[in-house]
Amino acid sequence: MTWLNSHPLTFLVFAPTLLGLLLLALPQALGKLTRLLGFLGALAIFVLSLAWLLGRAPGAPLAEHAPWFTLVGLPVDYSLAVDGLNFWLVILTTFLVPLTMLGTWNSLKDRMGTFAAMFLLLETGMLGALVAQDLFLFYLFWEGMLIPMYFMIGVWGGDERRYAANKFFLYTLSGSLLWLVALLFLAGKAGSFAPAIMAQAASGLPFGVQCWLFVAFAVAFAIKVPLFPLHTWLPDAHVQAPTAGSVILAGVLLKLGGYGFIRFAIPMFPQAAMHFAKPLALLSVIAIIYGALVAMVQRDMKKLVAYSSVSHMGFVMLGLASFTVIGTQGAMLQMLNHGISTGALFLLVGMIYDRAHTRMIADFGGVATKMPIFTTFFIIVTLSSIGLPLTNGFVGEFQILNGTFLSGFAWGRAYAVIATLGVVLGAVYMLWMVKRVFWGPVNPDEDSGTQHLHSDLNAREIAVMLPLVVLILWMGIHPGTFQAISEAPVATLLKDANAPAIRPLVLPSAPLLGPVEAAAAGHAPASAEVHP
């Protein structure tokens, strides 16, 4: 127990692997038992993570540090820590894993034991990447994560699974291999893989070199996010992956991209990051609008949700590119939101797919009369995804747009306005889908999906959805629970970036024009006059 007390993070990160290897060793015939063991283990890890992370005194650091090895003159440290930046992401991960296992209990028919094992190995990769404080260690987890995900998509996926799995693996790897070269370059200059020392070394390099290094970091992370135009692997991976894979892909894997920006790319190269703020923001805005527009025309519900991910993660990147505390805080919250809302959407689509064996919107219609409980949950999650006030989506998007609007960049206001359009488009594609699937008369076609919906959600599925709905509302009503801890680290982070001061007030500028004129001219022209 004393070992556990001093190494809680090591236990959290590696317990899933140990369990996963044990499950792999169990014979195939015991698939059901293996699945149960896997679920109970993941649940235990979630409970432990809650107890250890929430139970400690606030502000008490949770970190482990030990030298690991030295190769080619570069020391690598075994350094793990949980702080304000990754606290909730760690809990989100440990929470989503057992929940997803339960939510997709009967989705897989064969090799479910191996699937549970892969899932647990993936959990190690995700948790390790989230808590690693040494870039080499982070890289190991970051790459190691690909292996279980590859098999999850490739073995248990849809018809095009081999193509999707290969694409996922190679696409993600291409970014991170180039990033490795940048990492080696910088580590060679710094003589260490510790982010703080590397940041110091980076600040001594010529600005051009810093920019190249930042681009290498940013591309690796942007592929994971995924940021337009590097998003093309995502729809394939999402559509072909089994439900559990999609949930965890959307729920946690994409977050690691955004997390990489907050944890490494921006603090290590603050000047270069500022330099690239505009292109990043521009790509984010394109992702928001483009993702939404493409989502609108999808005929497959899962693909629609996949493209909505592109749009939502665009908001995250926009928040980060705003370089304001509120925008970054919003981005952090939006990552959690997206993990919960999109994860829930994928679970719901999976539930209806398990019953109807189709995900085509045209195959449905009138589902509300057949599955009222399912419909209720779906609507709640849809509204959260749209960003209705009192749900989590609203808070995140509002803060991001607010931060972008207020940021000192010349493009801030214009981009915020365009991005707001994305919120409207989000409502359009989601509600239109809801209309076609749930409302209206029951689809009369005998072979249609609706005709195959014989049962509403059972107790297990309701038990999966309830905690998600509670979180959606909690985060919408009291986001402070989830944001308090990251406030200070985010503020420190942005201090180095030297971002242009916030242009805070739009309304106080109005009196300069006089109340009547201001009302007539509206905000935008007024601000343009005051801040040329």
């Binding site: 190991l140 790459e143 590859y150």
Partner: protein, 499 residues
């Protein structure tokens, strides 16, 4: 002439396999069926004992730290390192060979004898910097290999592969000889270290004929490591060979050629102005060419053995990059990489035996669905392929990591980027194996045929595969121990690097 104990110590490691090689043919006289079974067992046991004795002796020598020599044969740390490397590969080959040759129905003593002669030659090849001894070693290990490639005579294509290998190999050997003669002509000594001093003293480093000599010498080495454009023999020879022999060739031939190259070029011939720079730039160009050709050609292969052959070509490219970086750390990365490469490739070729794939039935089609049927072997296959692709946290990643780190550190960022792009390409064809093993169900035709065949029984090959997978996994977590404990010491005390 009397031989002192230290001189015995230097040649004994070579004598054990040589003795085994001589004993085995005596046993392979034709007998009736009942005794033949026992004789086969005895032959394999003798071969294993010969290898084990050499291994035991060398590890003992390594522990004492002695570096004995016998005239031109220097059993220094580097030679001991490579001796252990060769003997481990040979032991795995013998074990896999027992299963494979039984599957093929072609269990012959001469195979073992040839293998052990080749082992002796390889140990000689890496233990000297004298050109004549070097050439002796080269021929002693190459000639048995030519015959080994074509050893399973019932398969018609083996003769083709063996012939190709022999003819091209003969050209390479004669070029090697010519190169040595040219250097001798200018320096008047066969000892390459002394030759370097003479050439440097007379300022002949950039003389065209000296450069031609060095180039021809280099050609001999590059042929053996199968670097492009001298790689053409590799896929044909591998495809023709029995699986364990192909594994042995891919690992041991490449390994000793690299270690000998290390001893000659950065070792003995270092410091010759003009020559060094030319060799380095030639190696850089060839490394790039090898990476591009090896990886791109591997993409389109349908036969696993040919794919592994092109993969072994591309690995020669990564290892050549270590020479471009040219730092001691890069060379210790090279030695570490060779150790992991031994495990990965012996494992990968052992898998073919363990899965019971015979003769030319080694296409990706033949692998389909086998990963689920034999989960332990499937797991090992995943370990080997991901490690070959350089995915962390497996051993193969660290080899590439060290070499790329040194490349970046010495200012060759462009080459490092090319290297990582090459390994990105390589991921695709390594994944192809996993796709076949896990992601594809066997075709109905294959299922029907499989039910007719007897169950595959390859316990020894399976065991070597498990051991190899354990080494690859362990390599990912004990990298610093392996590098500092073995690779660096071999270079430091053997070549005098790290000073």
């Amino acid at each position: 002439m009397t031989i002192t104990p230290t001189q015995w110590a230097a040649i004994l490691p070579l004598l054990f396999p040589a003795l085994g090689a001589c004993l085995i043919p005596l046993m392979s006289l034709d007998r009736d069926q009942a005794t033949a079974k026992w004789i086969r067992g005895a032959m394999y046991l003798t071969a294993l004992l010969a290898v084990a004795a050499g291994f035991w002796y060398l590890t003992d020598l390594w522990k004492t730290g002695a570096q004995p020599s016998f005239h031109q044969l220097h059993m220094d740390r580097l030679a001991q390192f490579s001796g252990i490397f060769i003997l481990v590969a040979a032991a795995m080959t013998i074990l896999q060979g027992w299963d494979h040759f039984h599957q093929e129905g072609w269990v012959k003593g001469e195979t073992l004898s040839l293998l052990l002669f080749s082992v002796t030659g390889m140990m000689l090849f890496t233990a000297t910097s004298n050109f004549v001894t070097l050439f002796l070693g080269l021929e002693l290990f190459s000639l048995p290999l030519y015959a080994l490639v074509a050893t399973v005579r019932p398969r018609p294509e083996t003769a083709e592969g063996g012939m190709k290998y022999f003819l091209t190999g003969a050209v390479a050997s004669s070029c090697f000889l010519m190169g040595g003669v040219l250097l001798y002509g200018f320096s008047g000594t066969f000892d390459l270290k002394a030759a370097a001093t003479v050439l440097q003293a007379q300022g002949l480093g950039a003389d065209p004929l000296v450069l031609a000599g060095a180039a021809l010498l280099l050609f001999g080495f590059l042929f053996k490591v199968s670097a492009a454009p001298f790689h053409q023999w590799t896929p044909d020879a591998y495809e023709a060979s029995p699986h364990p022999v192909a594994g042995f060739m891919s690992v041991a031939t490449k390994g000793v050629a690299f270690i000998a190259l290390l001893r000659i070029f950065p070792g003995s011939l270092s410091g010759v102005r003009g020559l060094e720079a030319h060799v380095q730039s030639a190696l850089a160009i060839l490394a790039v060419l090898t990476l591009v050709v090896g990886n791109l050609t591997a993409l389109v292969q349908t036969n696993v053995k040919r794919m592994l052959a092109y993969s072994s070509i591309s690995h020669a490219g990564y290892l050549l990059l270590a020479f471009v970086a040219g730092t001691p750390a890069a060379f210790s990365g090279l030695l570490f990489y060779l150790v992991i490469y031994l495990a990965m490739n012996m494992g990968a070729f052992g898998l073919l035996t363990a899965f019971g794939l015979q003769g030319s039935h080694t296409t990706f089609e033949d692998l389909r669905g086998l990963g689920w049927k034999r989960p332990a072997m499937g797991f090992c296959a995943a370990v080997f392929m991901l490690s070959l692709a350089g995915i962390p946290p497996l051993g193969g990643f660290y080899g590439k990591y060290m070499i790329f780190k040194e490349l970046v550190g010495t200012g060759h960022v462009g080459l490092a980027i090319l290297g990582v792009l090459a390994s990105l390409v390589s991921v695709y064809y390594y994944l192809h194996v996993l796709v076949a093993l896990f992601l594809q169900a066997p075709s109905a035709e294959a299922e029907r045929l499989a039910s007719d065949r007897p169950a595959v029984h390859a316990p020894l090959a399976g065991a070597t595969v498990l051991v190899a997978a354990a080494i690859v996994l362990a390599g990912g977590f004990t990298q610093a121990f392996l590098v500092q404990g073995f690779a660096q010491r071999a270079l430091q005390e053997g070549l005098g690097l790290f000073r």
